[in-house]
Symmetry: C2
Subunit: 440 residues, 2 copies
Amino acid sequence: MLIQNVDVLVVPEAGECTVETAQDIHLDDTRITAVVPTGNRPGAGEVIDGRGLLAVPGLINSHTHSPMVLMRGAAEDLSIDDWFNRRIWPMEVNLTPERVRAGARLACAEMLLGGVTTFVDHYFHADQIAQAAIESGIRADLAPTYFSSLGAEGIDAAIATTRELATLHPRITAGLGPHATYTVSDDDLRRTADVARADGLRIHLHAAESDDQTQASLDKHQATPIEILDRTGVLDAGALIAHGCGIRAADLPILERHAGRTTVATCPKVYLKLAMGEVTPIKQLQAAKIRVGIGTDGAAVHNTLDVWEAIRLVALTQKHREDDAEWMTLSDTIRLATRGSAAAANQPDTLGALEPGRQADIALLDLSGPHNQPLHDPRAALVYSVRPSDVTTVLVAGQVVVRDRQLTTLDLAETLAEARAIAHTLTDLSRGGAVQHYNP
Amino acid sequence: MLIQNVDVLVVPEAGECTVETAQDIHLDDTRITAVVPTGNRPGAGEVIDGRGLLAVPGLINSHTHSPMVLMRGAAEDLSIDDWFNRRIWPMEVNLTPERVRAGARLACAEMLLGGVTTFVDHYFHADQIAQAAIESGIRADLAPTYFSSLGAEGIDAAIATTRELATLHPRITAGLGPHATYTVSDDDLRRTADVARADGLRIHLHAAESDDQTQASLDKHQATPIEILDRTGVLDAGALIAHGCGIRAADLPILERHAGRTTVATCPKVYLKLAMGEVTPIKQLQAAKIRVGIGTDGAAVHNTLDVWEAIRLVALTQKHREDDAEWMTLSDTIRLATRGSAAAANQPDTLGALEPGRQADIALLDLSGPHNQPLHDPRAALVYSVRPSDVTTVLVAGQVVVRDRQLTTLDLAETLAEARAIAHTLTDLSRGGAVQHYNP
């Protein structure tokens, strides 16, 4: 297959991103084989006309809970305590495999249409999420969620699911999913780290989500969440840490010792909306050699799975946080969203750049709309004005999954109807109870 | 004309916003005459099928510099000093009536397609902006910009333009446009206030944009920008203050004395992007009875004229600022964006609500897309997930200006081609000089 005569976003490991105009992207079954100046068609195979379009690495949603689209807009204007204890965890009593599957299917549809080709997920019934991902054509890294409150049996089941998913399909990878340092005991984190090391699995969990959590951890355990991850072996095994807004200066040397196997996912819309006080200290993490990716978190708080929105908010909130409009430049933001998120997806060498040998996960953008014009700098458009509706074509592993802004895999009307039909079952709190209590 | 069987957003002066389903909106030439449960068609006239759509008051961009779309993406990752002194004000040496007209036309296209029916503008060659607004079908409140550095002749010309525009067209209103307290002398502000009172004109200007500006004003003039507006009579005459992030506690009683004739426009994307330190203190302003509207500012910093994006960022940044996730609720955010912005547009009784007697400025939204579904709460969709591409139909003063997501007034391809053709003329700094120097 060939994407012909397309402009290509080039994201180097350091320095300025550029756009190479009039390129051909050659693909084999699943990978990019060459990116060269446009020329004659070399042989048989499908040709996608790229004229007037910009090819970018497919976006990566580096931390989400995809089935939570079913709760979109059902938990608004709440403190983080009430959000968890009065809405989300009581609602999650209603989760069933079928409902999770339907939610994940809708999430995959939303993400693919917006140019997202990989999502890094953390949720219950992850086997169902895998099936939705496989049928939709998206790539997914899945961590089956567990709390210590589930008991040994529940944790065993989650670990068994991880092992099954890890070999299920070429587009599915899997990690271990302890929920957080405040919902999983040190003993269970130690066991998780042991399994991770033994099986070569990565751990994906929430930690130091806010400074309030860090302070609570110090008060209760005389250790920050990062110190807990260190002493339980989680950092040594390798972890994706969601949020990390409460990472303190004293945590940075600890993280730096594990830099090669630690990544952090940042989802700033959530930190603002839940008034969590701070955003992820990306500048300090990068100084400690920790790679950072960008995600949306679940739509029960982010309301969309729009990674463009998340990218934009990273640039805006980081400039604000550092009080420096020259920080988090266009190129650095794009690098976070591509190479950084590929690292957060645990696939730093196969995703996140349009280079020979990497997976053919590609989004084609039409930047001709009035909100992007005139186009003085396409990198500025990518960070500050592009919308999901500018995505015309999406490939994952060389398969066209969105063509002319339409899904080629899922039936969108059916997917929407299914989600609408079950949405009320999630918000029904008549059964009582909750999957967990938030008291970090 | 009739919009039949449509859901209607109801925004009360206080309390919860609601959605009334299955309504008919009856219009005469320019105004809403009735909003009633759907029923039989009462007579002749065009019928717009509203089934499955949500009608909302047309959005109001309560502070912008529309022709600056021509500089979109041309001034990135810069401190506010460099943004003004190294890019924007040197570029503005290149402004001509023709270029301003072309930029304003593109801006009107972008805004109308995103559901914006009114913009409150502050720029040079405002007569050209008026012509673009008239031909596009949008409503505009225009303030011709002036600095004291233009001299008496330049200021006279700007005031004369205001007077001409004020009677030009039913969809055009005009105000006086001194640039800011730091670029217009106290004497010129006094003269502006005198003209405003004598002619019944409103003043639209920048003031207390950041706390740095407020401190600089105290250091240089022993007065805050708000105190300068007070002592020069600007507040007494009536003003729309753009930004006001640097409004201090001591300024609030001064503003409260002029509450009925003072409004503030907030554009938070800009405050984050330029690292201005703080966002507008809306909670404190509202406590002082000052009405606040929402805007984008110019696209040379905001990159889009997407008022949905601005609305979302107001909710997010206000929760963050006040450290309170329960503050700036869905209903309060929507009220700012509608009734608040109508007040900022100096038309509090004619715009901003879908009520009999008000202007028929209406946007119809299709919320059936995957990023809005399931729709547990349409108000949450309006604040946190709607995109400009969800706007299907737009009416201004009863005229359909967007139908099936297409402009009925401007030729979009021609408008884009024109803007692209001249974009390079704006960024050409070979002439040297600048329209002003930033040193507040």
